[in-house]
């Protein structure tokens, strides 16, 4: 069976700096992939390539065996690490604008605002929203139109336990719906109950990729996802030192 999202030899260079070095990933439909790695590992660059913000230096991205283009991206949902919206517009106006760009109506935006429990503040200007509300509004925009692929960049950052619980629940619902999720995060405890696959990026290289079960089988002595990640990261650092 061919992969839903196929990333082949993806490379991105900024001058002499190699942000992504021949990344190969096969993401299955309906999977939840946790993209792990320290700051500067290339997670955001990978997202940038997938979302069309960045032109890859080399390599290919295919969605259902077709080269990924702007038309296919209309079926994506994206939550940025730092949610940036129009501050002088209301929550509903922001959500409706981005929903309309994807070809959905205001009702779709309102539906998602209800889902993230922001409907009561839909007429409030974005500049008056708290950080948690802004994060939820960003999520509502990402969820508009029931996207096939959800790309979430550090979605758990700065959330209080209640909001974290809400977000995890919504992501579970999306997984149940059959959406494919690619989540970049440092918060291992939050992603552990959701993730079906794990990809670890270290200094622009893919240090590990596989299902959670496969990774657990490779590291039977380790219990949590965080321990497995730490071990891979340590191994990667040692490899880097030997290499240098």
């Amino acid at each position: 069976m061919s992969a839903y999202l196929q990333i082949s030899d993806l490379t991105k260079r900024y001058g002499r700096i190699c942000a992504l070095d021949r990344i190969n990933l096969s993401i299955e439909r309906g999977s939840v992939t946790a993209l792990l790695g320290p700051n500067g590992a290339g997670k955001s660059t990978l997202f940038g390539c997938l979302l069309g913000f960045t032109q890859p230096t080399a390599g290919m991205i295919q969605l259902q065996d077709q080269p990924l283009g702007d038309a296919e991206r209309a079926g994506f949902g994206y939550l940025a690490e730092r949610v940036a919206l129009y501050p002088h517009r209301t929550a509903l106006e922001n959500a409706a604008f981005f929903a309309e760009l994807k070809g959905h109506d205001t009702a779709a935006a309102e539906e998602q605002l209800k889902r993230v429990r922001l409907h009561s503040v839909r007429d409030r200007k974005v500049r008056q929203l708290s950080k948690g509300m802004l994060q939820r509004l960003g999520l509502a925009i990402a969820l508009c139109g029931q996207p096939q692929l959800l790309l979430l960049d550090e979605p758990f950052n700065g959330l209080d336990p209640a909001l974290l619980d809400t977000l995890q629940l919504i992501l579970s619902e999306e997984r149940e719906r059959g959406a494919t999720l690619l989540i970049s995060t440092h918060t291992m405890s939050a992603i552990q109950p959701l993730a079906s696959h794990v990809a670890v990026l270290l200094q622009g290289r893919l240090a590990a990729f596989g299902s959670v079960e496969e990774l657990r089988a490779e590291h039977p002595e380790l219990e949590s996802l965080e321990d497995i990640y730490q071990q891979i990261a340590r191994r990667g650092r040692v490899g880097e030192e030997v290499f240098t």
Binding site: Y14, R29, G30, G48, L51, G52, F53, T54, Q55, D70, A71, E72, R73, A74, G75, F76, Y78, A80, R82, A84, L85, Y86, H88, R89, F97, F98, E100, L101, K102, G103, H104, A108, K114, R115, R117, I141, G145, Q146, P147, Q148, L151, D165, T166, L169, I170, S172, E173, E174, E176, R177, G178, A179, T180
Partner: protein, 335 residues
Amino acid sequence: MKNDAVTIQSPSGLAQHLIQPARARATPDRSRRGSLLHHARLIAVKEFGDRFRSGWVIACVLVWLGAIGLTSFFGLLQIGRIGIQGYERTVISLLNLVQYLVPLLGLLLGHDLIVSENEERTLRLILAGGITRTRLLLGKFLGGCATLAVPLTLGFIIAGAVIGLTSKDSSIEPFLRLAASGLVLGVLFVGIGLTISTFCRTRVQALVLSLLAWCLAVFVFDLVALSLLVSTKAPVAAEEIEMVCATTHVNAALDIHSDFENSGGAIGTPASLVRTKPTTSLGWLAANPIDLFRAINIAPQLGIQVPVLTVLLTVGLWLGATLGLSLWKLSRTDL
């Protein structure tokens, strides 16, 4: 599809939601999703709406109305007369104002169309929705043009009506020519501003470059053009220098008004230009839209003709160059 639906019971108190499998999701109307004009219109409407809310449009209408009114009333102060003038004389008085103010407004509108969205990081969210950069650029350009055109048109309509009613002048053609050419001039400078916006990383950088571009178009181009003519010392240069002075020089309006007084009411060729013959070697002046704008509006007074083809070519080339360059740059920019 109903059978595929899964109802999720939320343990944390969230409302129940009917969630369809991704493969059976509600697909948006493909004709709307895929339409270039649909996306461009959405972005343009949003751009205009934002400027309208910020008070930019209203302020622009008021400034423009005030400027036209004052110019029409005090335009003959230099030759010792005060009062609302007819259309033709208002046009002569307005030329300098339009050639300075409209390009500046166009640049101020265009310079932050892209760079502000990039700085605020909202550009990423727009592109993440599958909007192509061509559509984004077109929408931004149209939004910028609408934001400039609405106040200018309103100002021209209101001022035109007041001038017509007050001076009982019915020969509105010069005024309409001024309004149309002024709008086109503004659109060209929105395009230049948009290009600057795609090349800059910060709004401050874009603003500084826009002001430099304005100085270049309004002052430097003419000075350089005159310097080149003077330095060639060709026999035809003397005539061309006078013609260039007339199409670019700030005191040309005074010359024309004085000539109007001396000739007993009919605006003709100013006394200072009597020796000047229409010349075809001045086509290069059209490279600067501001000089072309002046030439269009004082052509009858100078006894010259500005070919329609020259106007269309200049407008087309400037629009093509600015939009093409913007698209080229934007499509190569990593966000």
